[in-house]
């Protein structure tokens, strides 16, 4: 038995355009914001200093930093794909800040599923991060999925990896 046999393996043939990823909701606290900022080595005060954020930036509280939002987005997508899913591209736009006390909800829909000329199966996903009715972040992910349970997109290199 392989080490990954007990983990989720979502293969390319199991995915269709229009599929929805399982939603993820999370209650953000000040610890979420500060832990995320320090984990990503972001020392800027608006991510840990309430007085700076409110008085200097003019926002209501400290807020999630960009690299930590990327980490949340990666987690949201790979929860669905399993460890064989390999991110090729991740882009996001922050429209509004996410603050302590917010419950952020990630939703995602498959927008494309196609193989490239090397046989690598690519899935495009549109993601929204919302707090109630407020859309805070929109994102697009392009992730490679295995063509079979034994395929491993992580083994692709050079000309065989076209993210």
């Amino acid at each position: 038995m392989t080490a990954t046999a007990t983990h989720t393996v979502r293969t390319f043939d199991q995915v269709a355009v229009g599929d929805a990823l399982p939603a993820l909701s999370y209650e953000v606290t000040a610890t979420t914001v500060v832990l995320g900022a320090l984990a990503s080595r972001d020392w800027r005060p608006q991510h840990h200093d309430y007085a700076f954020a409110t008085k200097r930036n003019g926002v209501k509280d400290i807020f999630l930093n960009s690299p930590n939002q990327a980490a949340w987005l990666e987690r949201f997508v790979t929860d669905w794909t399993g460890p064989r899913g390999r991110m090729g591209r991740l882009g996001f736009r922050m429209l509004d800040s996410i603050f302590p006390g917010d419950t952020m909800t990630f939703t995602g829909t498959v927008t494309s599923a196609e193989s490239d000329e090397t046989g690598c199966g690519w899935v495009g996903i549109d993601i929204t991060v919302a707090v109630g009715d407020r859309t805070c972040t929109t994102a697009k992910a392009r992730i490679a999925l295995p063509s079979s349970p034994d395929d491993n997109p992580w083994s692709r290199k050079g000309e065989n990896w076209k993210p």
């Binding site: 392989t2 080490a3 990954t4 983990h7 999370y26 979420t32 832990l35 995320g36 320090l38 984990a39 990503s40 080595r41 972001d42 020392w43 200097r56 930036n57 003019g58 960009s66 690299p67 930590n68 990327a70 980490a71 949340w72 987005l73 990666e74 987690r75 790979t78 929860d79 460890p83 064989r84 390999r86 991110m87 090729g88 591209r89 991740l90 882009g91 996001f92 736009r93 922050m94 491993n152 992580w154 290199k157 990896w161 993210p163």
Partner: protein, 171 residues
């Protein structure tokens, strides 16, 4: 007319700040980053899975910019270096004291492995005309960061869109 000063126009597409990370990629940060978002992907927690899929432990791809953020403090350092220094240079040169990042896109190539020492360079891609937003009046700019490992393999290209601005005076 964008009204961008010529000395800033001259920097567009010019590689700047060719830098080597201050420390090698290490697992403590990988685990802390996974913990910060409750990411249980076994690729980052289970050595057998990492050995099978990636030939050893790797970092979460989304951590790519972590590895070139300078220490908050280091011996003999008088001025705190900034990550994405081109962004802070633009704030200074354009007289825009506040800034936010709005868009980020990363294309991932070779995985970042534990022990890697990354090298980066930054390129200013564009600066907009002055715009008015709810934050204030300022300019958008796009900065690309290219990441390579110690084997000179491309590991990622990151593109940031920033907005530098002045807050409007209270009425």
């Amino acid at each position: 007319m964008s009204g961008v000063p010529p000395e800033i126009e001259a920097l567009i597409d010019v590689p700047q700040y060719d830098e080597v990370s201050e420390f090698p990629v290490e697992r403590g940060y990988i685990w802390t980053s996974c913990a910060s978002v409750e990411n249980g992907n076994p690729l980052f927690w289970d050595d057998a899975v990492a050995d099978e899929l990636t030939g050893g432990p790797i970092a979460m791809p989304s951590m790519i910019s972590n590895w070139f953020r300078p220490h908050y403090w280091a011996p003999g350092r008088d001025v705190q270096p900034m990550p994405l220094q081109v962004h802070f240079d633009l704030k200074e040169s354009l007289g825009l004291p506040e800034a936010v990042m709005s868009d980020n896109t990363v294309t991932y190539y070779e995985p970042v492995r534990v022990g890697d020492v990354l090298r980066t360079c930054q390129k200013l891609r564009s600066v907009s005309a002055e715009k008015q937003t709810k934050l204030g009046t300022g300019r958008f700019w796009v900065i690309d960061v290219e990441y390579r490992n110690q084997r000179d393999e491309l590991v990622g290209i990151e593109s940031w869109t920033g907005f530098g601005y002045r807050r409007e005076a209270a009425a």
